[in-house]
C-alpha cells in the first residue's frame, strides 16, 4: 500500500534527522536533505519546530519577513495546500563549518507540483510549476543550549512564477 511506503519512509527520515550528531559536513548535508524531504514531500512541516528557534530571524524575497517558527510552518502549510502534490527536488547543498557549534548552509532546490488548491489569487488553475520554480536558501545552524537549531535564514522563492501558475 502506498500509505505503508509513505509511513516507512517518514519513519526512516525521522529517525535520521532525530539521531543526527552533526559531527561533520557530510552529516549536516544529509540532515538538510532529509529534513527538507520530510517537511515538503512527506508533509511533516511540524518537524520544523524541532529544528528552528522560536524567534528565528527569517527573511523572504520582496522585503517580506517571517516572524518566528509558527509563521514559518503556516507558510509551508499554505504552499502545500496550494500544491498538494508538492515535492522539493534538492539540486545542491553547500556546507561550511565555522566551528563545532556552527554550520553555514546554502541549499538550492526546485519545487515541483500542480496548483490544485486555492491560493490568494483564486481557485486552482491546474497549472504545473514545471522545472521553473527555483528556490534558494542560506541558513545558519547553531548549537543552542545543547540542541542544533536554525537561528537565521534567507529564503527566496520564484514568487513571480508561482503567481503566474496560480493565476487563471
Amino acid at each position: 500500500m502506498i500509505s505503508d511506503l509513505y509511513m516507512d519512509t517518514i519513519d526512516e527520515l525521522m529517525e535520521a534527522v532525530d539521531s543526527c550528531k552533526f559531527e561533520d559536513k557530510e552529516e549536516v548535508r544529509t540532515f538538510v536533505c532529509n529534513l527538507t524531504k520530510l517537511v515538503y514531500d512527506y508533509k511533516m512541516m511540524g518537524k520544523l519546530y524541532d529544528f528552528y528557534i522560536q524567534d528565528v530571524e527569517y527573511h523572504k524575497q520582496n522585503r517580506r519577513r517571517i516572524h518566528g517558527v509558527e509563521e514559518l510552518v503556516h507558510n509551508v502549510l499554505d504552499l502545500c495546500a496550494e500544491f498538494p502534490d508538492l515535492k522539493a527536488d534538492i539540486e545542491n547543498v553547500i556546507v561550511y563549518k565555522v566551528d563545532d557549534t556552527f554550520y553555514k548552509i546554502f541549499r538550492r532546490l526546485r519545487y515541483k507540483g500542480t496548483n490544485l488548491g486555492y491560493s490568494k489569487y483564486g481557485p486552482p488553475t491546474g497549472k504545473s510549476l514545471g522545472d521553473n520554480c527555483l528556490n534558494l536558501s542560506l541558513m545558519h545552524l547553531k548549537k543552542v543550549e545543547g540542541q542544533w537549531k536554525f537561528v537565521f535564514e534567507i529564503n527566496s522563492d520564484s514568487e513571480g512564477w508561482i503567481k503566474e501558475v496560480e493565476t487563471q
Partner: protein, 211 residues
C-alpha cells in the same frame, strides 16, 4: 595573510559607514586595494574565494565597475533565474548590471554572508546573500526615477545566489550561477503608483510565461 586582513577591515568599515560617507579619494583608495586583492588572489583556499568574491561584488556594484564582470564570467557562463529564466554569457550580465546601476546609482551592497566549499583542483561552490540599499534616482525601463527606496520599514530586498567556479583554459570562471532576488519589490520601487506597478509586474509575468 596581511592583505586579506586589510580587506576585511575595509569591508567592515564599508558596512558601517555606507555608500557616500567617504570622500572620492577614499573611495578610490578603497577600490584600488580591493582591485589589487582581486588581481593577486590565488584562490587556494575556500576562505580566500569568499573574501575575493566579496571584494569583486563590491567593485562591480558599489564602486560601479561592471566591466570587471568579465574577469570571472565568460561567454559560456550560464545564469539561471526565477521562473526558468536563463541567460548565457558575461555581456548579458554586464548590460543587466549597468541598467540596474543606472536606476539605482547610490546602491550600497551590504553583505549578509558568503561561504565556500571545494578546492583548487575540483573548483569551488559558494552561496552568497546581499541586501540592496539604494533608491531609484535614475531612469529605468519603467520611466523616470521615483525616488523610492528599495528598503522599507526596516525590511530589505535580498539577493541570494549560488555560483560554481572552475578553472577553464587556465582562468578561473563562474561556469554556472543560480540567482533569485526580489523582482516584485524592485519593480514596485521603480514604478510611481499601484496602477503602473500592476502593469509593470504583469509585463514581467508575461515575460516569464513566454520564456
Amino acid at each position: 595573510m596581511n592583505i586579506s586582513m586589510h580587506i576585511s577591515d575595509l569591508i567592515e568599515k564599508r558596512n558601517e559607514t555606507g555608500y557616500g560617507n567617504e570622500s572620492i579619494a577614499q573611495e578610490v583608495e578603497s577600490r584600488k586595494q580591493m582591485e589589487a586583492f582581486v588581481r593577486d588572489c590565488r584562490l587556494e583556499l575556500p576562505e580566500e574565494v569568499a573574501e575575493l568574491f566579496e571584494s569583486y561584488t563590491r567593485i562591480i556594484w558599489q564602486y560601479q565597475c561592471p566591466g570587471i564582470i568579465h574577469k570571472f564570467y565568460s561567454d559560456d557562463t550560464i545564469c539561471h533565474g526565477e521562473g526558468g529564466k536563463k541567460s548565457i554569457g558575461s555581456e548579458t550580465i554586464v548590460n543587466g548590471t549597468i541598467n540596474f546601476l543606472r536606476a539605482f546609482p547610490d546602491r550600497h551592497v551590504n553583505f549578509v554572508d558568503i561561504f565556500v566549499e571545494g578546492n583548487e583542483e575540483d573548483g569551488y561552490s559558494f552561496g552568497q546573500a546581499t541586501r540592496f540599499i539604494a533608491s531609484n534616482t535614475g531612469f529605468s525601463r519603467y520611466g523616470e526615477p521615483t525616488g523610492k527606496s528599495l528598503s522599507r520599514d526596516g525590511e530589505w530586498c535580498h539577493s541570494i545566489c549560488e555560483c560554481h567556479l572552475k578553472k577553464v583554459k587556465g582562468r578561473w570562471r563562474v561556469v554556472e550561477e543560480w540567482v533569485v532576488d526580489s523582482q516584485e519589490a524592485i519593480i514596485e520601487t521603480m514604478t510611481k503608483d499601484k496602477e503602473e506597478m500592476v502593469e509593470a509586474i504583469t509585463g514581467y509575468d508575461q515575460e516569464l510565461s513566454e520564456k
